[in-house]
Amino acid sequence: MIDLVGYGAFFLTTALIFSLITLGLNLQWGLTGLFNVGLAGFVAIGAYTSALLTTPDDPARLGGFGLPILIGWLGAMFVGGVAAALTGIATLRLRSDYLAITTFGVAVVVQLVALNAQKLTGGPFGIGFIPRPFGDLAETPLLFNLSNLAIVSAVTLAAYLALEHLTRSPWGRVLKALREDERAAISLGKSARFYRVQAFAVGGAIMALAGALQAHFIGFIAPDNYLSILTFQVWVMLIVGGSGSNAGAVAGSVLVWAIWAGSGALTSVLFAPEQQARAASLQIVAIGVMLCVILLVRPNGLFGQRPGQVRFGKKAKVIAGESGS
């Protein structure tokens, strides 16, 4: 029973970290319509930044500055946000596909730096001994897992509330207006590029924060954690939940992570150890097909806004009611 609670806490912690990445992607894609296929790169930037800032001094590589964890997280958000802002500034005046291709390139380059810049990132073996909040509780796994869950939930909740507030604020309304009808929004004097760069940067900062959280929760990072499969998983989570809705982003993340972890457990029971790698690739095929089917059948996800059904509070409903009658 206690094992089950412990596993449940561990599962939820991971799912909530994914939710945080998905919330960042929802701000970029769901709210602003910016396509990011390199989000694994931004998550990695956050994880490595925080690891560099907080680990104890290591003669084999740069830093290990031994700073408090909170500084690491703030640093991760800052660097992730700046990286996203630069990407946005370079590409957001161009066609949306160019942003997609560039973010894809960012992920490739971050992966390359993580693998090869040994002095900075520890190379293929990654960085260990990342300080864990409540590390001294590690002897009682249950308490440790629960306290981790508490802190990750708190951060995710804070991000969720902040994003909900932002979405309803004038700033969020400008983003929505730009997504729905760019020309109309521009004619009202809103600079499309400026607002988009902001949204992209905030989204990147949230992803980086999620990367940092995960790094401190596991205590160890390596380049393998940030392959394109991560990008892919988060996209499926957002699309299943329905882009545009923050609640959907969280729900989609928990649901897809449950499917992923469940099917992973299933394959490890059903297949012999030497067939595991093969079975794992079949798992990815299934998720890929699922993404395509959702795009075809229910493009707005389980909780997303339907097109043409955009609600702006009571007034809009009244008007809709009048025109409907």
Binding site: D97, I101, N116, P299
Partner: protein, 302 residues
């Protein structure tokens, strides 16, 4: 610095260029960047490999053609592989892309291609495992051609094949009625439709050309380097960079872009080391997007 990097660069550049033709055609005619294009490459290569296996099973081992490392089975299998890759692209268009295009949101199609890419790639890993494999394990002796440059007979044959294919596709798109319809579609789809151009057939031709060339590029990588399920995915960034550098929609541009990136990669390998190779395409891509986003031969978007 030895001049060998010129030969290496031209070879890599041909592979990138052949792939980039498909990317640039899908982008200009179907109006989305196809993230599954690299996986067409890998699927074509594995299809070719499987057909060679079948031929060997039927006719026994066939001796390679004098100086080359491969015999007629590879050539026959390549043609069949090109057809199969084209079939795969058409099938994918039917079940996925054509339906997503109807939603009138280009970026949804890109997302679909991203999902398809992941599924296709993992399916290859499932069928063939991720262990690298080869068309032939024979080692070729590189011939010196002066200035300290060496080249293998395979490399010469494949460079010639690239030149013939590029010329062929260029003539097809500029001198035939089909080619002119393709250009019309890329310049103004609405007008093209009104003037009675058969849109469905233009879409089909686009997929067939792109996929068939992707298969050739993949087999080139297979003959000269190795075959892995990830081989196409790793080529994706260079191919996008080449297509954008050359100017979207331009076939000579895509090939030239590919050659430039190939040469830059080979130069970087000599100067700073092979592990940073993949960063070259990204740097070139960013430079193009900042300095001249329409590329070398591109036309400003209407």
């Amino acid at each position: 610095m030895s001049l060998q990097f010129v030969v290496d660069g031209l070879i890599t550049g041909s592979m990138i260029g052949l792939g980039a033709i498909g990317v640039t055609l899908t982008y200009s005619i179907l109006r989305f960047s196809n993230f599954a294009h690299g996986d067409f490459m890998a699927w074509g290569t594995y299809a070719t490999l499987s057909i060679i296996g079948a031929i060997t099973a039927m006719f026994g081992r066939v001796a390679p053609i004098a100086p080359l490392s491969f015999g007629w089975p590879l050539i026959v299998a390549l043609v069949a592989g090109m057809a199969l890759t084209a079939l795969l692209a058409l099938l994918l268009d039917k079940v996925l892309f054509s339906r997503l295009r109807k939603q009138e949101q280009a970026i949804i199609v890109v997302m679909g291609s991203f999902g398809a890419s992941m599924a296709l790639r993992s399916l290859l890993e499932f069928i063939f495992t991720s262990r690298p494999t080869y068309f032939s394990r024979a080692i070729q002796i590189a011939m010196p051609v002066g200035f300290g440059v060496r080249i293998t007979p395979d490399q010469i044959a494949l460079l010639l094949l690239t030149a013939v294919l590029v010329l062929g596709v260029h003539l097809l798109t500029t001198r035939t009625q089909t080619g002119r319809s393709m250009q019309a579609m890329s310049q103004n789809p609405a007008l093209a439709r009104i003037t009675g151009i058969d849109v469905a057939s233009v879409v089909r031709v686009t997929w067939v050309i792109g996929a068939a060339l992707a298969c050739v590029a993949g087999v080139m990588i297979g003959v000269l380097v190795q075959i892995r399920p990830l081989m196409g995915f790793d080529m994706l960034l260079p191919m996008f960079a080449a297509a954008i550098l050359g100017g979207i929609g331009s076939i000579p541009g895509a090939v030239l872009g590919g050659l430039i990136i190939g040469l830059a990669e080979a130069g970087a390998v000599q100067l700073i080391g092979a592990e940073w190779r993949a960063a070259v395409s990204f740097i070139i891509l960013m430079a193009v997007l900042i300095v001249r986003p329409i590329g070398l031969f591109g036309v400003r978007e209407r």
